[in-house]
């Protein structure tokens, strides 16, 4: 029983760490730019596909397979260039428009990127095969866990800490918090919002693509993975509170672990359980657990 529980918990936390990265990207973009970026799911999918390609390329190039994590991260970082392209090419034209308009535009990006993925990688799922277990397995609390999962959990925690440090201590972080609070006043203090927007959106994209690249050894890259993740990221954001980083962290843990519990006990309930929680939060605490405070 206890072993079973630990198993469920560990796989939940693994999923939560990926979910956190994507949700953090969603939150930072919403916090500063006030755009609910549905395309964060597509960035995640894109990161996954590019991750597979980078790993394949690195193996073919004769690099030791043990370095596949580096290839994944490199892939995730490289493909983040779509961020500034989407921001400068599309989003900047709609900042002053209605939210519905912005939402529709990011949804259009979702559909477009899905087609781009089909065009470049085809429709069949791709995976990195057995690389996943290359780092071996470990016994934690009586459960065998792939070391890779622990690496991802650690990396996600590290990124969470880095984001926290960035927001609290760096100039860029303070400007982000100021801009999230009051865009006009930030401009009156000489802050160039165009530059802030490009950087923030690139950061948000990067969190998504790196998340996608890191998840790929544990699963297969599929065209619909982006949409699936948007739904979960949406739940994370509702539970945690829109625009809050702490909310993304706690929300991702809640959704990740609940999903894992549902899958192990009654798989049909997977999404239902998450939505019950979402509804409960919306009814009892509409702004989410950490809602209200920006970034």
């Amino acid at each position: 029983m206890l072993v079973h529980l630990a198993n469920v918990l560990l796989s939940g936390v693994f999923h939560a760490s990926i979910l956190f990265l994507v949700a953090a990207g969603l939150q930072v973009v919403f916090g500063v730019q006030r755009i609910f970026n549905l395309a964060c799911g597509s960035f995640y999918a894109l990161g996954a596909y590019v991750g597979v390609s980078f790993v394949q390329a690195s193996v073919q190039a004769g690099l030791p397979p043990g370095l596949f994590v580096l290839a994944l991260v490199a892939g995730g970082l490289c493909v983040a260039v779509v961020g500034p392209v989407v921001e400068r090419g599309l989003l900047r034209f709609v900042y002053d428009r209605d939210e519905t308009f912005q939402l529709l535009l990011t949804f259009a990006v979702v559909l477009m990127l899905e087609d781009v993925i089909r065009m470049l990688w085809g429709t069949s799922p791709l995976s990195t095969g057995g690389l996943y277990l290359l780092y071996g397995q470990l016994k934690v609390l009586g459960v065998t866990v792939p070391v890779y999962n622990l690496i991802v959990i650690g990396a996600s925690l590290l990124i969470a800490l880095l984001i926290g440090y960035m927001l609290a201590r760096t100039k860029f972080g303070r400007i982000i918090r100021a801009a999230a609070d009051n865009r006009e006043m930030s401009e009156a203090l000489g802050v160039d919002m165009r530059r802030v927007y490009v950087r923030v959106f690139t950061l948000g994209t990067l969190l998504g693509t790196v998340g996608g690249a890191l998840v790929i050894p544990a699963t297969a890259a599929m065209t619909e993975m982006g949409i699936e993740l948007i739904v979960e990221a949406f739940a994370v954001v509702v539970i945690g509170g829109l625009g809050s980083m702490r909310g993304a962290f706690v929300g991702a843990l809640v959704v990740g672990v609940l999903r894992s519990i549902a899958i192990s006990t009654y798989p049909e309930l997977e999404m239902l359980l998450i939505y019950l929680i979402v509804i409960a939060v919306l009814v009892l605490k509409p702004r989410g657990l950490f809602g209200g405070a920006a970034a």
């Binding site: 100021a178 609070d181 009051n182 401009e187 009156a188 203090l189 000489g190 405070a293 920006a294």
Partner: protein, 247 residues
């Protein structure tokens, strides 16, 4: 205008918001070390004038020159970087940031001959009360402290000129002289100041020139002493000739 000796000159400015003609041929000028007050009732067009100067609103016609350069149509951050500081009516303190963080932002966005440390020291020197609250969040400040922080934050930009929108509004009478004194100190540092004020009794005695705006038009301009003689204008801004502000 645009002659030497004029820091900011606004000439026949016309601004529309949606279909409404808000500012009609507004002209005003502020010279070095001057304290100019733009007085008018709520809705007369004071804030619109300031927002147009700051680049938030695009004028339909007219020119805005700051330090000899035409700034109409420039973006707000560029205008700020050229040395125009702003403290808005609602103070617009960044609630999530501490007092110290609020003040230091503009030292990163605009480089001047003064170092960041000097600029921060100056801002705190004008409002010594803020020194005690450096670590406090914006949410934990009183209305008066927020006003002070807002002006101190604009000062840290090391501006050549300051725009203050209703710096005395909503403050307890006890604190108004304190802020008025601080604004006077700012002028002795060589900054020019343009104040938008709805209460004629709050116009500081060191004001060098006064403009009265009504329904988007400048209806009076001249030294403050003159306005008390003009009954028609006084009726508009609700001043009583016998009673003057904190002198």
């Amino acid at each position: 205008m645009g002659a030497a000796g004029v820091m900011l000159s606004v000439d026949r400015l016309n601004v529309y918001i949606q279909a409404s003609h808000i500012l009609r041929d507004v002209s005003l000028a502020v010279g070095p070390r001057e304290v100019v007050c733009l007085v008018g009732r709520n809705g007369a067009g004071k804030t619109t004038t300031l927002r147009s100067i700051l680049g938030y609103l695009a004028p339909q016609s007219g020119t805005i020159r700051f330090l000899g350069r035409d700034i109409a149509g420039r973006r707000p951050f560029e205008i700020a970087q050229q040395g125009l500081g702003f403290a808005p009516e609602d103070s617009a303190i960044f609630a999530d940031l501490t007092v110290a963080e609020n003040v230091e932002i503009s030292t990163w966005t605009r480089k001047t001959s003064r170092t960041a440390e000097e600029r921060l020291a100056l801002a705190y020197a004008v409002f010594p009360a803020l020194t005690r609250y450096r670590a406090r969040k914006g949410t934990q400040l009183s209305g008066g402290e927020r006003k002070m922080l807002s002006i101190a934050r604009a000062l840290a930009l090391d501006p050549t000129m300051l725009l203050l929108d209703e710096p005395f509004e909503g403050l307890s009478p006890a604190i108004i002289p304190e802020i008025g004194q601080s604004i006077l100190e700012i002028t002795t540092m060589g900054h020019a100041i343009l104040i938008a004020e709805s209460n004629i009794h709050h116009v500081p005695e060191y004001t060098t020139r006064l403009y009265v705006i009504e329904r988007g038009e400048i209806v009076f301009s001249g030294p403050p002493a003159e306005v008390w003689k003009d009954e028609a204008v006084l009726r508009i801004i609700g001043g009583t000739p016998s009673w003057q502000s904190f002198r």
